[in-house]
Amino acid sequence: MSNQTEAEAGLVARTEPIASFDQQLTLVSRIQHALHSNPALVPLIVLLLSVAVFGALLGTKFFSSFALTLILQQVAIVGIVGAAQSLVILTAGIDLSVGAIMVLSSVIMGQFTFRLGLPPALAVACGLAVGTFIGFVNGWLVARVRLPPFIVTLGMWQIALAANFLYSGNETIRAQEIEAHAPLLQFFGRSFTIGGAVFTYGVIFFIVLVLVLAYVLRHTAWGRHVYAVGDDPEAAALSGVNTRRILISVYTLTGLICAFAGWVLIGRIGSVSPTSGQSANIESITAVVIGGISLFGGRGSILGMFFGALIVGVFSLGLRLLGADAQWTYLLIGALIIGAVAVDQWIRKVSA
């Protein structure tokens, strides 16, 4: 009998039970557990804190349903683009072309209606198709040609933006004209009011989009695969995930969502302007990162991005209402971004 098998003699009388999973559940440990299993809670806490602080400083000017829903309107576009950005960043990529896709799609919706004379619904469909197609090209280059996402989308950003200026001839289509001839383009700008709170359809779209994506990422196989690809692409491929298909679908979906953002944008500003959306890239990435999604992929939740976008919105409106001038606002927002994430980090640490 071999030694190793000899050693196994000690196993004969084994009587281990299945490990039991119950434990004392104190309040603190419950909170800790909640924070661990819902990473979006931390940015939510930061958000509530900042609303409270500005509310205390500004009173009802800020703490009214009107002002609070105004923040929602102001962040809706960055938030929609941020939702798309979240998907890409979860796969350990980055999409610098989101802003350009958004503007180009909105320009196509407008120009196809007014220059080519297409029915608005068809023009909108064309805009959505173009956005989706650009997203698909991004995905194809990333997944098939294996180029770094940063480079692919940087190049696509320039291409889409230049195409946008070239095609539109730098012309803005005025709100009055759209209102008169193609109100469908402004669909997402319509709003309804519930006791002082103003909700535009764009805001509703934003919220629904985030909820749907949160559901998909958490409760479907595709969602788990997105996380797996971002976490360790090699391991994901070895364990049976079609990483290419996932990447292509993520970028394509991102393109579609950005095209929708373009439509929402028309609703928000009323007109179709080729110079919109220039800071959508950096702002969407900021929302994603403040929301606790790791730029290295595979970690974080899209609800976090939602709260992250709102945090920036609260700071911006709050500081403006406090009367800080623009440069001071930028300076303070810079400091607050660092501060918000430091608080986030600290909460995670003490709750570990």
Partner: protein, 316 residues
Amino acid sequence: QDVTACLITKTDTNPFFVKMKEGAEAKAAELGVTLKSFAGRIDGDHETQVAAIETCIADGASGILIAASDTSAIVQSVQQARDAGLVVIALDTPLTPIDAADATFATDNFLAGELIGKWAAGKLGDEAANAKIAMLNLGISQPTVDVLRNQGFLQGFGIELGDPNKWGDETDPRIVGHDVTDGNEEGGRRAMENLLAKDPTINVVHTINEPSAAGAYEALKSFGRENDVLIVSVDGGCPGVANVKEGVIGATSQQYPLQMAALGVEAIRAWADTGAKPEPTPGKDFFDTGVALVTDEPVEGVESIDSDEGAALCWG
């Protein structure tokens, strides 16, 4: 009573708007108006301006002074503000349509361009027919000021325009090329280098503003061409006027942002007190705050002031 006014500029990094803000602040302090100022991040960033308008409405301001980044895109928000009972005055850049604002205090940017175009043509005399022109513009998104100054210059110089709503579609062989500068020295130098590499015989340079002119001058200097090229520009800031005096810039069209801002604040005060709106300049659909050509080498047929006079009026 308490009057709050908002000033929304395109950016607050361009000295032009910084001075506009200073002018507004001084006037506001004099008239007892609370002034809050906002700005876009970059030229063309009209979304931040929309957010600023919304903030002003939420803040209960009496009026808004705005230098619009996109003259059409901003109109719907302006309408919202007017519906909420605010008076909205466009500064520097008229809205499209111009009556979307209650009033407009602006420079005629096309005229500003035209003045320097005429001056350059006059300065070259007969040689104007063989000129080699470099056009240093603002950005590829072609903001309206950029287009107006560019097209104004070409018209003034006597070049046939293509579509007057965009630059870059003229076919005149005298134009060596267009390039973009972002309105700063660095971009000015790079753009000038690019165009000089393309054609080293350039002898006229149109620049969108004085910082890009200073950058272009550095490039010309490194090519050893600083003394035989005409640089023209628009703005009339103090460094620019000083550069005219020293011969760096041949001529510049001077604008008056302090005046625009001061007039704007006065108008809001008046509106809050009496409900009266300002009247436009007779014969124009806006209140023209004027533009003057500053040069030390005046040319027949183009009215101008010299650099000392310009320095007395300059804004930053």
